[in-house]
Symmetry: C3
């Protein structure tokens, strides 16, 4: 593995999930691996789970951590090639990324989409500039269109909780008061399409995800149909891809309720968090045995840890090719 | 010890203070104790001493530290049960606390009172929600009504500096330009009432602390009377408990001066810091041999270290019950 | 070495640079030196390189790091002696510095000038108060008038890249949209004057640096003359010292271009970063083989590491005088 940006960076998905679950049993087994290594975690946006779980994962591997709120602690960055930088951007990503690469062995980056210019967001300018200029393995801590550490966590959690070989997994849109990115549902779809599950997406009209992420998933606009017989309900709001970044619908009837959960095969309820209670999902579901959201959040550590492990191995291989 | 929220969490106060002072002599004696442990320090409010001293204490014990400015680095939190979260709060404390508990072995929380709703503040909503939902030992880094790490430090410092078996300790209100919480004086009173000292509180009318914190202390509105023969003068401003959160008095005659210190038994001057010079206390006192404020602040490390030690032992006992 | 504030703190400059370059080859050779030590890095202003490289340097030496955005994470500080603190400053530097000194073995401080009161800035109030009250070795992470870690890095980079015994080094002013401090050029001049180089400063009229920093350097207002035969071009904007803090000139003809680089002896281009592309220097130069800016930024680690090493040795000597 050279970077961790999407599901395509994982060679053997099944083995990867197994390794993560092994870390859950023996968190400190590879603490020697990170000796004398430093990971830099750069946040252009807010974070709770990603910030804490990635730090913990690195610590479990003996890696030193440097966390930075870019823009807030440092300088506003310019991402356009050829820009005449006479505005409010003090530093170009070309320098910033290369410099960070001088100080850190692995670099994690979180940068949300602007949700105004679809082409700009879907071309992943920020993440691609870091990939191009940092000169180090990059971990996406959520980019404009994907959140792979979350999706890996989701797959780990499904693997832990599934009761059948090939569970029915439903990604359902849910209402929200703000326009949110498509990263989590895009990424979840990408990973579910790569896994051994029966995958269905339920969303209102106008909310279909980008075709490259939907892939072979069944898409329905009827939430009840989707819930029927489901083993996992994964709720998430997102803004429209078609009418990019817009809120077309706040229909509360799409909220996940206990009544709807009764349509399922006693499904487990999942959400990436943070979740707005009684808007996205009612209290009764989150406070019931259906809910797997805390276990799911806890698994973020093992997801991050298996990713950092593979990148540490890559670094060790480059430095000592004869050892491998 | 299961948590560290108030003096009631300490089984043997005298032994606890002794252990802290032993750490001052041999700071790294228990460095093995924190191996593979991570403490999360969550700040809803500003901090200098608590932030740095608790980090240092953890490092002395070999514990990894994750610091987070909640709300600023992460999401605004909702604390009300049953809330329909369609406003500016993106995450409920139920999830946030439980999630942090997944990543950290011990969790420290600082959250100041709002000073507008006395019942809300004195019911300690934030701290109690963390206690209820985190699933880990909690350390108060200052809550709505208490600041126990400060009070433990104060007791350690008094133990170090006292010249008589049972010193006279005076907590005196002092003027200030802003409405401040009652946490420090509340907590100081609670700890002094539990210790072997002659404890007096001096404050203007309308500034009596809550009865449950005053306890058996002598309360006087005459500062000079209180200072007479005192061994320790502990100055602090607080806003009114009776007319909750209000400033009733900014009378500069309550400022601690060198002239007033002459009424004492050559008392040491204490303050939790930050202190406004020439408002709370005049320069002459802080810059004299009376002042113990820097030694007092330094002792914050040993207070935090003994607390973290006891919580680490609790964790070790739970994991390996046969070892103890 | 007792502190690291200016070039005057270095006893043997040549040996110091050699030690830094040795760390570049064996970064972890002295990891034992920092055992049980903590460095506190206090930022009153934004930072990318200094923040990350100093953390990495400390980690390479086994030192624990505490980073704090003062003012933002903590309290607004008062720097005036005798102030009646009834305004927005909650804590005096006398207490703040002394308290930080209780928690950290070494303290780094970044504090930019206000650029309105030259006497205040050039008297280095903030840095001097930390020197006076902290009671610990202080490292300047950039003060009102100097940036010694940057200048040491610059000298290291020149030592690495020079092709002649005594290279011609040109510090050239360049245009910018904001009024910037004189710290970097002051400090660079101070260090170049102490090194074995042929040192020239080129700047427009009205932009001469303070005489105590210019020293024996040749100063010219003709940029082309300065570039002729140069081995190193060091570009930097600064605001006027004479008309203090003012922008007198934004003449784009002072921008460093590829055409100007052709006047040189195939010079290497240096800049402390962040740099505004196509304002200070054109893309063509930064993206050419002339540019040494990333290597230069990378050397910040070794500069910080050799400084911290010497301060750690000082601490060890004080504690165990018979060992040395």
């Amino acid at each position: 593995m050279n970077h961790f940006i999407s599901v395509n960076d994982v060679l053997d998905l099944k083995a990867f999930v197994k390794e993560a679950l092994l870390y859950k049993k023996t968190p400190f087994a590879d603490k020697y691996l990170g000796k004398n290594r430093t990971i830099g975690l750069l946040f252009f946006n807010a974070s709770l789970r990603t910030r804490l779980s990635t730090q913990r994962a690195a610590q479990n591997l003996g890696v030193e951590v440097i966390v930075m709120n870019v823009g807030q602690d440092g300088w506003q960055l310019e991402f356009q090639d050829g820009a005449v930088m006479n505005g409010d951007k003090a530093e170009h990503i070309k320098e910033a990324a290369a410099v960070v690469g001088q100080y850190c062995d692995i670099v994690g980056v979180r940068s949300f989409p602007g949700l105004t210019d679809r082409d700009a967001d879907y071309s992943e300018i920020v993440m691609n500039q870091f990939l191009k200029h940092t000169g180090r393995p990059i971990i996406s801590l959520e980019s404009a269109t994907r959140h792979p550490l979350q999706s890996l966590t989701d797959l780990i959690t499904i693997e832990e909780l599934r009761k059948v070989e090939r569970p029915k997994v439903v990604l359902t849109w849910a209402p929200h008061v703000k326009a949110l990115p498509q990263c989590v549902p895009n990424s979840f779809a990408e990973w579910m399409n790569a896994a051994n599950v029966d995958f269905v997406i339920a969303n209102p009209e106008g909310y279909d995800l980008a075709p490259e992420f939907v892939g072979n998933a069944k898409v329905t606009h009827n939430q009840a149909d989707a819930f029927a017989g489901a083993d996992f309900i994964y709720a998430k709001n997102w803004s429209s891809y078609e009418q990019y970044g817009k809120i077309l619908n706040q229909d509360p009837s799409w909220m996940v309720t206990m009544k709807k959960m009764e349509l399922t095969n006693n499904a487990r309820f999942m959400h990436c968090l943070p979740v707005r209670r009684n808007v996205v999902v009612e209290d009764a579901v989150l406070d019931s045995e259906h809910s797997a959201v805390i276990q799911q959040a806890g698994n973020r550590v093992w997801a991050a840890q298996v990713v950092i492990k593979h990148l540490l191995i890559k670094l060790a291989r480059e430095e000592s090719p004869f050892l491998f």
